[in-house]
Amino acid sequence: MSFLNTFRSEWILLNRKKLWLVLGVVTTLYTVAATALVISTAEPLRQQSEGGLALEALVGAGGATMAVIFSIAFGFLLVLATFISSTGNEFTRGTLRAALTFQSSRVSLMAGKLAARVLVAAIVMAGAFVIGAITAAIVAPAQDIGTDGWFGLDALGDAVEDYLRAIAYVVAFGIIGTTIAVLVRSTPIALGIGLLWFGPIENVIGEGRDWTERWFPGMVIRSIVQPQAADAVATPSALATLGVYAVVCAAVIAIVMSRRDVTA
């Protein structure tokens, strides 16, 4: 009951015309630009530079959404920063404290808020997939990419799978971002930690070390949304690892929220 109340309460705060308008504009601009860029820079597999998308991956059933999810993957800092700031601001503004005077279950409070934010992200992702697929269909002919296989039932199945991968990516960054914010209770510090870790630290430490692909959370999440990458971990293994991380993060949030005083 308290989880549902928190979810509904958070939804009231999020379900605003202005927020949807801003999200819509940002998502549209980002998706159109990123999808067009990914497709226009795609190269044949044998000439492919590191980090790019192979032309061959765009041909066939999943081609329309392949470019979309590939471009979404580059927005991880945006997703992480959004979840960190939405939780961090609750501490710095005192809205979490105010909420706890209405509902004492701290774990339910965090879970309900996270669920509502993930729902908003899922809706935004759905919009991004539609916009990205349309963009891909428009841009692909210029790159001589055949789009014959993009509109069948198989394509729909692939699109659903890609969408689920995108949701997993959002949930993973959402939980991690929320955990960092709960731990440090400060948006700027949490942003610094998150951006440092998932930016330079993972990449520097991970350079030339295969095990990092299997265990570093940012790299595991990347395996989910870029399964075609040469160094990607198999999706079941990646999901299992992320599942463990999610449980650990949930435990950290539960312990920290339950034991700490809410003084801010």
Partner: protein, 326 residues
Amino acid sequence: MTEDLITAGTSHRSSRGVGEADAVVVEGLTKRYGSRAAVDNLSFAIPTGTVAGLIGPNGAGKTTLMAMLLGLVHPTSGAGTVLGEPLGKPAGYLNRVGALIESPAFHPAVSGIDNLRSLAVLGSRSQKNIPDLIELVGLAGRGHDRVGSYSMGMKQRLGIAASLLGDPELIILDEPTNGLDPVGMQDVRRLIGEIANDGRTILVSSHLLSELEQVSDWLIVIDNGGLVHLGTPGSLGAAGEALVLRTADPAHTQMLRTIADSTQLRVQVDGDDVLVMLDGDVDAASLAVEINRRAHTAGIVLSELHYRRADLEARYLNLVSKGETT
């Protein structure tokens, strides 16, 4: 001492004719941060239906105490009940408590009404009276505006409206006049009076006694985390009441002092003024008549004879500056 304090609370409740259990009871409540005690072995009771003023200087432990009552801060030791439920289980009473703790905290991009709706849903409270609450706190016409566009005073009012969601039995207001101009302060005091008329129990804090003495019928004075006074505002100020006498001829001041001494009350001389302290149950008017009569008989012309109300602020400052805890 704890027993004395609780007894004091009980007798006060009896005098109000309220027969229900105390709304808030704390016994030996302590909160330590390292070696520093923010709240130190605090014991008191707040009778149901009372407007209790929690007063103390900044850093006295008022907010920490309120946060413990709301389950935001875990006590280091001690126990208590809120609306009959154990202090450690806020789920049992939070739906009957409204609170404004520290500064009002709302989502700035969201309207005042939607902030209240969100909190009402969160606490399973009715949303029906939100328009009435908005009007009650003087925000009519601004409820649909973003909270980010509100002044500090408007946010404070919205915070009070939030504390009234669901018609709670106990309302806890932490420095509700902070950041308000004099008119706003007066409005909030009036509002507290209106809320209290419905028979609710209110615990309101301030570092200014003048803020609370007009609206409270019960004062809890704390300093350095400990209790320094508990009782009615009258009990805080009784010691300061006095008759002030002055002769037309300063040469007669000593004679006037002798007359004042004959009343068997405490007498102080402050410059040309002779002060007869009204300790205990003294009829000030009768005493003034008697002193005036004796002075006239002695050939002393009084240029001044008036009743001085207790200076509660001075008494309060005296209490907290001593740093003593009961």
